[in-house]
């Protein structure tokens, strides 16, 4: 592993080691570029992942204080936990369930496709599908995505058989075990999925792609990576010419350190990324870095997510098998006659027994609540994963009344749902119910909106610098050597789970950064 001196001004500093940061680190180091990765969390491994659900949650989850406001369901149901992501080497790719669909071409042209929707801040992506597709293909190979490039699909689990039978009764056509970054056979030096269903607790087989045991060790092997764990970036500094030149952070002992940098890339997930930009205000940039247009933290998207549980009179044992390996894709279309724009997926889902009542069920107690629990064996599950509308006022801000362990203002997450979001959720809940009722469900229970797992668009790419934070390469409009390298840079949320797109954009950004470094543009 490289040791890069604090005063060394030649390195790229990446903040965060998840889907975006971990991938970027590998791509830069393998091109011979020296990289420091600052990761706030600890390092686990397939050996140390806890197999006790509650313990695994505490081991991996970002639990530093945050606040929230707005009318979305999360504020009511999970007041202290607006978002659910990791704080560990590998970021949320340790927790994730590895569904890896692509955007549809028309989803990237969101504003052109959907038109003027009042109360939204929709824009088109500054990248065409043709351009992105090249990187999707690279990303899919990198992740070993099933049903792409000759990789077989995962075998159907019990939970999927239920979803499939219902979907087919309704006439749905695009129903399969999903495009998953999970090994349906051993490949990439990693084992095959043994269907243990603990994807969220950390895959002890390493069958599920995570930067923790792919990109990061490979970056380390180049000799160009200096990975500093339990190091929390608190501020990015700049020179008088407005270029960033150092990252201030707290190390594992709480000591303040300062790493000089040629280029800084932020990949702290959709809430911490804008928070760090806002925390880095200065006399030159009084609104925070890269925020001359006032766009940092705005247009925050989280997708429409919610569970549906079908209760049957025969056993399903939904917990056996890969958590999310199954999808109905027919509703991924823009058909305003449904009462909303944009599309959604219905994805297979199951929750382990301890998590099920905490996250999966609507508020309730007494006989009715208990009767749902009594049926745990006989429950099949899925969730909606759909596009939410960007809104200028749905935003990440600093809450100066609440401080973190270092005395810094925490992030506040504000979300007011758009009528389009509500109409989509209603439609999806009706369809999910029909899927289960079509094959004789005794009852369908609709769950709440869980804490946001897909935090995106809070420092978005835009062709027009007034409408976003970065250009099409994640390079901030204001500061040429400051990059956004995670889901924050996505322009809109679309219907797909975000991570494949985050990885594709990181691969593309790495090419751009190394090219620009070679020609001394940055």
């Amino acid at each position: 592993m490289a040791r890069i001196a604090f005063q060394d001004e030649s390195a790229v500093v990446i903040i965060g080691s998840g889907a975006g940061g971990g991938t970027l680190a590998h791509e830069l180091t393998r091109r011979g570029i020296q990289v420091v990765v600052l990761e706030a969390g600890k390092r686990q491994s397939t050996e140390t992942f806890s197999q006790v659900p509650g313990e695994a949650f505490l081991q991996l989850t970002w639990l530093d204080a945050r606040t929230q406001s707005g009318d979305w369901g999360v504020a009511k149901n999970f007041p202290t936990l607006p978002a659910w992501h990791c704080k560990t080497v590998g970021g949320t790719t340790v927790h994730w369930t590895a569904a890896t669909p692509r955007f549809e071409p028309w989803e990237l042209r969101a504003k052109s496709t959907y038109g003027n929707i009042p109360g939204t801040s929709l824009i088109d992506w500054p990248i065409s599908y043709q351009e992105l597709k090249t990187y999707y293909i690279l990303a899919e190979r990198r992740l070993g995505v099933t049903r792409r490039d000759g990789v077989p699909g995962l075998p159907a689990s019990n939970n999927f058989k239920v979803m499939y039978a219902g979907a087919k009764k309704l006439g749905y056509k695009r129903v399969h075990t999903g495009h998953m970054a999970i090994n349906s056979r051993a490949q990439d030096g990693r084992g095959m999925c043994i269907q243990q269903g603990f994807c969220v607790q950390g895959c002890k087989m390493g069958a599920k792609w995570s930067t923790l045991y792919t990109e990061i060790p490979r970056a380390e092997m180049t000799g160009n990576l200096d990975l500093r764990i339990e190091c929390m970036a608190t501020r990015i500094e700049h020179a008088t010419n407005g270029r960033v030149n150092a990252v201030v952070y707290r190390d594992g002992q709480g000591r303040e350190q300062r790493q000089k940098a040629r280029i800084v890339c932020i990949a702290g997930n959709g809430i911490e990324t804008p928070r760090l930009l806002l925390l880095s205000d200065s006399s030159k940039f009084p609104q925070g870095l890269a925020n001359s247009a006032g766009q940092v933290g705005r247009n925050y998207c989280h997708q429409i997510i919610g569970f549906a549980w079908g209760i049957f009179d025969k056993p399903v044992h939904s917990w056996r098998g890969a958590t999310l390996a199954g999808v109905i894709e027919d509703e991924v279309k823009n058909d305003p006659s449904r009462g909303f724009v944009g599309g959604y997926r219905m994805e297979l889902c199951t929750l382990d027994l301890p998590t099920f009542p905490l996250v999966g069920l609507p508020y309730g107690w007494g006989r009715d609540f208990a009767s749902i629990m009594e049926n745990y064996r006989n429950i099949a599950g899925m969730l909606i994963n759909g596009e939410d509308m960007p809104r200028a006022e749905n935003r990440i801000t600093l809450n100066r009344d609440v401080k973190d362990a270092f005395g810094l203002p925490v992030a506040n997450v504000h979300v007011d749902e758009h009528p389009n979001d509500q109409a989509m959720r209603k439609h999806a809940q009706a369809q999910m119910s029909r899927v289960y009722e079509a094959i004789g469900a005794k009852r369908v229970v609709l769950g709440p909106t869980p804490p946001a797992t897909h935090n995106t668009c809070s420092a978005r790419m835009s062709a027009d610098p007034r409408e976003g934070v970065t250009n099409a390469w994640g390079q901030t409009h204001d500061i040429p050597n400051l990059f956004i390298s995670d889901g924050s840079a996505m322009t809109t949320a679309g219907a797909p789970n975000p991570t494949l797109t985050i990885v594709a954009l990181a691969l593309r950004q790495a090419e751009y950064i190394s090219r620009e470094m070679k020609t001394h543009k940055i």
Binding site: P155, K161, Q196, H317, L353, G366, R367
Partner: protein, 184 residues
């Protein structure tokens, strides 16, 4: 099950304020894990009758008739621990217990539900409810009762242990599924 039988016995040195105890019911799922055992939970914040009232409250909020009292006792043990560590929590619980009255545990289910509906918005009720969700379903007694098999990595996953053994619906055609690895 050692979890229960030794349930905070090491805390016995401290002065205990109450005790919850019971016998593992023959034929209950718990009997499979702890045959013929007695269990006891020492309370350090609550009296025995307060413990019994809390247990009855837990049984009303999450009524699983055939689930052993021992599982509910784990919830009480956990709130007892919280209350003995923090004076405000203890105060909240004591006041909450006073609000449901001394005859709570002895009254009928419908009376208990009625009493709880009256205090549903209180911190006392909500703390108990969340505690039940956190503790009641995350222990071996509950796993056995609800048929949840938990962690399977140590047993080779569910690949050969029934992940696709559902037979009451048609099989998924190969093109929408995927090949089973050899031997599965």
């Amino acid at each position: 099950m050692d979890q229960l039988v030794t349930l905070n016995r090491r805390e016995l040195l401290k002065s205990t304020t109450g005790l919850l105890m019971g016998w593992v019911v023959a034929g209950s799922p718990l009997a499979l894990i702890a045959p013929g055992r007695a269990w006891a939970v020492d309370l350090t914040a609550f009296t025995s009758s307060e413990g019994a009232a809390l247990l009855s409250m837990a049984r009303t909020i999450a009524p699983h008739d055939k689930l052993d009292d021992a599982a509910y006792a784990l919830v009480i043990q956990s709130v007892d621990g919280d209350a003995s560590k923090d004076a405000n929590t203890l105060k909240m619980f004591k006041e909450g217990l006073a609000s449901i009255g001394t005859s709570f545990a002895a009254s009928s289910e419908s009376e208990r539900v009625e009493a709880l509906e009256k205090i549903e918005s209180s911190a006392f009720f909500q703390t108990m409810r969340v505690k039940i969700l956190q503790v009641l379903y995350s222990n071996p007694i509950a796993y056995a009762y609800f048929g949840y098999e938990g962690e399977a990595f140590s047993k080779g996953g569910y690949l050969r242990r029934g992940f696709n053994n559902l037979r009451w619906l048609p099989e998924v055609p190969t093109e929408d599924s995927g090949p089973l690895p050899a031997g599965a």
